[in-house]
């Protein structure tokens, strides 16, 4: 598979599962500060596997990869809490949980997008609005807001991360 094909597959099939994956990782890993790293590690593994071929069942594959990763980490750290292993095998439940219907997802996402926008720092949101509503370039935003180009870049990058995390990672959780 070419990188382009892997990218399209990743966006289409894997990212919509991010909420489920995050929930699974959070339930089964104590150190919350490592969750983002674990998620990245899962993505790296499945994308590397997808270069060879796409798995038949994406959800099963994602969650199995996550479980194997957690087991490896636990072995590595020599701390295997018994309840963690038991929980890991509750994977089946996550697998069988029916996904919400498309309409509900779209409604949910709109609400999340709203939350993300509302919670952005004011200057950061202002930069985003100038970019998308007024269609200004980074340079134009800098002179309009009278701040440095580097600061504009930071604001825009922060906004992109916040929007993405709200839309994917927080899916299925109450805002």
């Amino acid at each position: 598979m070419s990188p382009g094909e892997v990218a399209a597959w990743f966006v289409r099939e894997v990212l919509p599962l991010e909420g489920i994956l995050m929930q699974y990782l959070q339930q089964n890993w104590r150190n919350k500060s490592e969750i983002t790293d674990l998620r990245q590690e899962v993505y790296v593994r499945i994308c590397e596997a997808a270069r060879e071929r796409f798995p038949e069942h994406t959800k099963r594959f994602v969650l199995t990869t996550a479980r194997n990763l957690l087991i490896n980490r636990m072995r590595h750290e020599n701390v295997v809490p018994i309840e963690a292993v038991a929980d890991l095998d509750a994977l089946g439940m996550a697998l069988d949980a029916p996904g919400p219907d498309q309409v509900a997802i779209a409604r949910d996402e709109l609400r999340r997008l709203q939350v993300a926008l509302d919670t952005l720092p004011p200057r950061c949101r202002e930069a985003m609005i100038l970019a998308h509503v007024e269609g200004l370039s980074g340079q134009e935003i800098a002179s309009r807001m009278n701040i440095s180009q580097a600061t504009v870049s930071e604001h825009l990058a922060t906004a992109i991360r916040a929007l993405t995390n709200q839309l994917f990672a927080e899916r299925g959780r109450k805002p």
Binding site: D37, Q40, T164, N165
Partner: protein
């Protein structure tokens, strides 16, 4: 084994966001592109982080476009700034177009200009060029009516599939009507395919506005940009992003070729049957599930069935009317 991550996911995400915002909102040179590619190549984690943010921003934009569809606005519910902050510019364009379309159609109804009908038989392929520079390619078994006047450009796709390369003119939007859906060009090349109960619109270049003109209360409208593939059925609409390569292989019929990438045999046969009067029939469900990979001339069922026989080791019987494939 993967190399151990030298940077935390947070750091990589921050770098990816820096790249993405640079590319989206600032001057972007070939050198920047080369540098981005070099950074991406360094680790799969870089790719993953970049794809994810890119998809997140795209998703936010698309949601905002859906949100800005006029149908969503509810009377008596004041819109907050953030509810419609993204892309009201597009919303304005869409509203202007909607008015232009309404006025245009009304006038047409009174004047009743002559429509021209174009069609292709099964296996046919034809290109129609219009004086405004726009061009339509009709795929197999397609019927299309065009009303091209100095005031308006409207095409009805009554059946089949067509590829549109539109000379954009903001004053005279190019509109394709397929059943109860309407596609409004905003500077574009796109393909529209009608199957029973299903409409597919794929955008190759530029963007289009897809909606249902006679259902003002519906939420099934969307701004589609290059790479978007919308599938609309009676029950709703799904939009996904395809790679440029996937979209162009979906357009291979323009070169008289069908491209299958790990397609189910049943789907491949159904595609072939659109182009040929002698139909392929797959007798056995276990055979239908086999996958094939390759490119075949649209009119050459013989070649296709020979490959199926030799490569997949299946029985192929040609009884004149049909070609039956089984174990």
């Amino acid at each position: 084994m993967n190399k151990p991550a030298t940077r935390s996911a947070e750091e990589i995400e921050a770098q990816a966001a820096a790249w993405l915002q640079h590319r989206r909102y600032w001057a972007w040179t070939d050198a920047d592109q080369a540098e981005l590619e070099r950074w991406l190549e360094e680790a799969t984690a870089h790719y993953v982080a970049y794809w994810r943010l890119d998809a997140g921003l795209g998703r936010a934009e698309r949601l905002a476009a859906l949100q800005s569809a006029p149908a969503e606005a509810k009377a008596g519910e004041p819109a907050t700034l953030s509810r419609e902050w993204l892309f009201p510019v597009l919303m304005r364009i869409a509203a202007t177009l909607a008015i232009a379309v309404a006025v245009g159609l009304g006038a047409t109804y009174l004047m009743r200009p002559k429509d021209r009908t174009f069609s292709t038989p099964v296996g046919g392929h034809e290109t129609v060029r219009f004086s405004d520079g726009s061009q339509i390619e009709l795929n197999t078994n397609t019927i299309l009516r065009a009303r091209m006047t100095s005031d308006q450009r409207v095409v009805w796709l009554d059946k089949g599939e067509a590829y549109f390369q539109v000379k954009h003119d903001a004053m005279h939007p190019f509109i394709v009507i397929a059943g109860d859906r309407r596609i409004t060009d905003l500077g574009t090349a796109f393909v529209v395919r009608r199957d029973p109960g299903k409409l597919k619109v794929a955008v190759v270049q530029g963007r289009v506005w897809l909606d249902e003109p006679n259902q003002p209360r519906t939420q099934q409208s969307a701004m589609l940009t290059a790479g978007d593939v919308a599938t609309a059925t009676a029950s709703g609409m799904l939009v996904r992003k395809d790679t440029a390569r996937d979209i162009s292989s979906g357009l291979s019929w323009r070169q008289g070729v069908l491209v299958f990438k790990y397609a189910r045999l049943a789907d491949a046969a159904a595609e072939f049957n659109r182009y040929n009067s002698q139909k392929l029939v797959i007798a056995d469900p276990s055979v239908a599930k086999l996958t094939i990979y390759g490119a075949f001339p649209t009119g050459n069922v013989e070649l296709f069935s020979r490959v199926v026989r030799d490569v997949l080791g299946l029985q192929v019987r040609n009884n004149g009317q049909q070609i039956v494939i089984s174990r």
